[in-house]
């Protein structure tokens, strides 16, 4: 069905982005504090419109833009993540932080760029041909590079941005060269037609294209050995941007992997099981082992995010009708848990300007509720029952088990234990180590406290309430039927 309303979410977010940019021109520096609420309101309207979207399936522009139930879930996740990121950025950008980071200005442009990236991600999961897919991938990642280098007078931020640009451009070059070969082999730029044309293809050119495209996907998903940008970019970027990057770039990477692995190479995916299992094992092990020795909390979260990417890869093994809902559910869980932890990190950096794990000592004495929320978020990432992280991991592990990769389940279980050790390092600093006597205790912030409270409640109940997983599962079945 071709109805315009399936594009309303994107249109609303684009409109909000430009309203913010233009409004910024006519505002005084003081009244620019209204920009974040405008951006947040636009995203809320976008989420509400997406939630009421009927029919969920449909296509526009000659089939180049399509909406389906899986895209629906991804769009909800993208908009939720950026909504939280906008709220988290407010304190830092509006100057409410006790320790003001230098060079965090230009609020209108900041929210405009953040919203542009959301639009790119939303188009990414709806794209149905190579050109749209590539362009939307770039619209999603280029703004992230700009945001990473946002602090102009901070060399670390610039260095993070430059590393992200160079490696991101390398990934784009891989992807676009692979796409051009695929286009030549399939004589079409339409994803579904390419999938049909290459279903039995075995030529070296095709294998080269597959290798290039998968390497590019690995970059976006921070899959080992394409993970090296993540640590430096996460550490150097401004803290609210790191929070956004950690969830948004991962979600966009997963959306891109869905487009590539299910839509483009869906027929070949079962044959690649051993390779995917190997990459999953390496990714989670390396991420976890390196995270143990980190001292900077942002770098620590980067390696934690890399190991989480390894868990996501488990979902590509075995039966897609179980793997896809498990991955989407875990994405939702990961986004919520990671944002809960990062909201605490952003708040702590705003109040004290510190970002070493040791600096968190005694937080449970000065701010018991925040410490509790951060602990719940970390425990969810580690996968402790009954938090949602456990349920999400359980689904993913059971898929690997059903696919016959019992060794991989063992590796993943050992990795979960290792991850518990390093997440507990942070908890130990907060709960067991004595507080610094001289340091001024950090004071709570309204916007972040509310965000953290809501996220923590969601983290706690997401795994217990079965309706969300049921909805994702039902959505996936219709989606998989449409792929055939």
């Amino acid at each position: 069905m071709t109805t315009m309303n399936i594009a309303y979410p994107e249109i609303i977010v684009i409109a909000t982005a430009f309203i913010v940019l233009v409004a910024d021109l006519f505002m005084t520096e003081r009244s620019r504090a209204a920009l974040a609420p405008i951006a947040a309101l636009g995203l809320l309207v976008g989420i509400a419109v997406t939630a009421t979207l009927t029919p969920v399936t449909g296509e526009l522009l000659g089939g180049r833009f399509a909406m389906d139930p899986v895209a629906w879930w991804f769009k909800i996740v993208f908009m939720l993540a950026s909504l939280v990121a906008v709220i988290m950025s407010m304190d830092t950008l509006d100057g409410r932080a006790r320790v003001r980071p230098r060079g965090m200005g230009f609020r209108g442009e900041y929210y405009w760029i953040m919203l542009s990236s959301v639009v790119g991600m939303m188009l990414l999961i709806s794209a149905r041909d190579l050109v749209t897919l590539f362009v939307s991938l770039e619209i999603a990642t280029l703004p992230l590079m700009v945001l990473a280098a946002w602090r102009r007078d901070d060399a670390k931020s610039g260095e993070a941005g430059l590393k992200y640009v160079i490696l991101g451009a390398l990934a784009s070059a891989f992807i676009v060269y692979g796409f051009s070969i695929l286009y030549g082999l399939a004589r079409s730029a339409d994803l579904n037609e390419i999938a049909r044309a290459v279903a039995t293809e075995k030529s070296p050119a095709f294998l080269l294209a597959v290798a290039l495209v998968l390497a590019g996907t690995g970059f976006k998903l921070t899959m080992v050995p394409f993970h090296m940008w993540a640590a430096d970019v996460y550490q150097g970027a401004p803290t609210p941007v790191t929070a956004y990057l950690s969830v948004a770039s991962k979600a966009a990477g997963l959306a891109f992997a869905f487009q590539i692995l299910f839509r483009l190479f869906g027929d070949m995916l079962p044959q690649w099981g051993a390779l995917i299992a190997l990459f999953a094992a390496i990714t989670m092990t390396l991420g976890n082992v390196v995270a143990i020795v980190q001292h900077n909390i942002k770098r620590f979260m980067a390696f934690s995010a890399i190991s989480q990417a390894g868990y996501f890869l488990l979902g590509f093994l075995g039966d897609a009708s179980e793997g896809v809902p498990a991955m989407i559910f875990y994405l939702l869980v990961y986004v919520v848990s990671n944002l809960a932890v990062f909201a605490c990190i952003v708040w702590f950096a705003n109040e004290t300007g510190k970002e070493q794990i040791e600096d968190y000592r005694g937080l449970s004495l000065t701010n018991p509720l925040t410490a509790l929320c951060m602990m719940i978020g970390l425990f969810s990432l580690a996968g402790i029952p009954p938090l949602s992280g456990f349920v999400g991991k359980f689904f993913l592990f059971s898929i690997a088990s059903k696919a016959g990769c019992h060794w991989l389940v063992a590796v993943a279980a050992v990795n979960s234990t290792i991850s518990l050790y390093y997440y507990l390092r942070v908890v130990r600093q907060m709960y067991i180590e004595p507080a610094d006597k001289e340091a001024q205790p950090p004071s709570p912030s309204t916007s972040i406290s509310i965000t953290v409270a809501i996220l923590t409640i969601v983290v706690s109940i997401l795994g217990i309430v079965p309706t969300i997983y049921q909805h994702i599962h039902a959505a996936t079945i219709t989606w998989l039927a449409s792929l055939q």
Binding site: A149, G158, L162, I166, S180, R187, V290
Partner: protein, 110 residues
């Protein structure tokens, strides 16, 4: 003369080889250069090789369609956007460090 030229006119193979060579030069430059601007140039070569590839396939495989041309145009636009972002960051880094040598970009360790 024109006959002679037509006889040696490059076909699909030659063009694709040219693209692959360009791509390899770009990749080599990206991995070996130390100057950030040279690295961005190498990226540009890689992206342009991909754009040329799309045009070549369009000309020899589907001459009556324009998908490859569209792809090339968008790749050029995206390459330009990427370079703008990259150069902006290089300029702001140069102001802080008076150097664009990527070997010195190691302030973060873990």
């Amino acid at each position: 003369m024109t006959e002679l030229l037509a006889r040696f006119a490059p076909g699909l193979h030659e063009w694709l080889t040219l693209c692959a060579v360009l791509y390899a030069i770009g990749l080599y430059g990206l991995l070996t250069r130390r100057n950030a601007i040279a690295i961005l140039m190498a990226v540009e070569i890689m992206l342009n090789a991909a754009a040329l590839n799309a045009v070549v396939f369009n000309r020899f495989v589907t001459p009556n369609e324009i998908d490859g041309h569209i792809m090339a145009i968008f790749v050029i636009v995206m390459a330009a956007a990427e370079i703008v972002v990259g150069m902006a960051i290089v300029v702001s880094l140069y102001r802080l460090r008076a150097s664009v040598d990527v070997n010195q970009m190691n302030s973060m360790k873990g």
